[in-house]
Symmetry: C2
Subunit: 202 residues, 2 copies
């Protein structure tokens, strides 16, 4: 059963949930201890500090969720198919973990100076072979728009941003959770079409 968690796991899981839900800065270690049903002192026994615990959680969260995505970008699929798969897999992943975007955004804002140290963040943006592929297609004359940075930023924006403004959209349009989920599902077709079409623009 999942009941047999080690103390370390219990702390890790409780903190992950709280960090995602309320943000790192609004989560106290006492709160984590209570939720994990352990003593406050154990918190510092396993992880030296809150910041340390956060680092562990953040890189695990990123690694776990980006592996599949990086595999797609580095595959030898054709450009269009690659974009389609990337968008769909990314949206599915965020649908299962809708707080991830806001969480990463807040971290990006939070650790302005430490950003280079945060190796985990880097893996959120890894496009070397993908960029090469776009340039190649341009040389072959298959596409007209060949700035890989702009294209990748467009792609990330259309995938991720809607999750960041989820509450705004739900509030304004009066969506239920289900309706919002449906709204997102539609984007799995809409976004790839838009992106692929944008490559062909004059």
């Amino acid at each position: 059963m999942t009941k047999n968690k080690t103390t370390e796991q219990k702390i890790f899981d409780a903190a992950t949930e709280l960090f995602l839900e309320k943000g790192v800065d609004r989560t106290s270690v006492r709160e984590i201890a209570t939720k994990a049903d352990i003593n406050l002192a154990l918190m510092n026994y396993y992880f030296r500090s809150k910041e340390n615990l956060f680092d562990a959680i953040f890189s695990q969260l990123v690694k776990k969720n980006t592996r599949k995505l990086i595999k797609i970008l580095d595959s030898d699929l054709g450009l269009e198919e690659k974009v389609r798969q990337y968008v769909v897999v990314y949206i599915d992943m965020l649908s299962e973990n809708p707080l991830l975007v806001s969480f990463v955004m807040s971290i990006l804002h939070r650790s302005r100076e430490r950003i280079t140290e945060m190796k985990a963040i880097s893996s959120l943006y890894s496009t070397d072979t993908f960029a090469q592929q776009i340039i190649e297609e341009g040389k072959k004359g298959n596409i007209r728009r060949t700035d890989p940075t702009q294209f990748y930023v467009d792609m990330l924006s259309l995938i991720a941003f809607p999750f960041a403004i989820k509450l705004l959209v739900m509030d304004k349009r009066g969506f239920t959770e289900e309706e919002f989920a449906e709204f997102i599902q539609e984007r799995k077709e809409r976004v790839p079409e838009m992106l692929i079409d944008s490559l062909k623009l004059r």
Copy 2:
């Protein structure tokens, strides 16, 4: 001269800067007092609490920056021209205040339950006449894709998200501030074209 600021103004301005730079939760009232060069107690004399001060700053920030944008959406410009102007004005506004996006994102994440701030946030998304216009154009057969919510979310995503991941992009592409600014300037042409084209898709 701008030197003759009231105490209230001094607090307000110092707090605005700090909130934008470091986030609300990582800014202490003592820090605000020091930066504003006033006594800590005055902080509570003018604004009853830190949260109160934050509310005042947030709604002022939103109002100040969205007035122009709402005016464009509600104007009687044609759809294409409206999109073009909206994107350009929005990007220019964010270029002048590049921390605004992360700030608003963090608030959106922060105030899940709180309604007070939500009212200010609501004005970030006001599209009644704009939505109507898209539906009208669809009826006239001028465009094929007529979901105003999807379109508006696409538009916001392509405009705002790049600012939220500014540091990631700069780090990965090795951009200087100037190069990033140039990257953003290019989007003033790229994004409207993409959006307008997406309306015509099958």
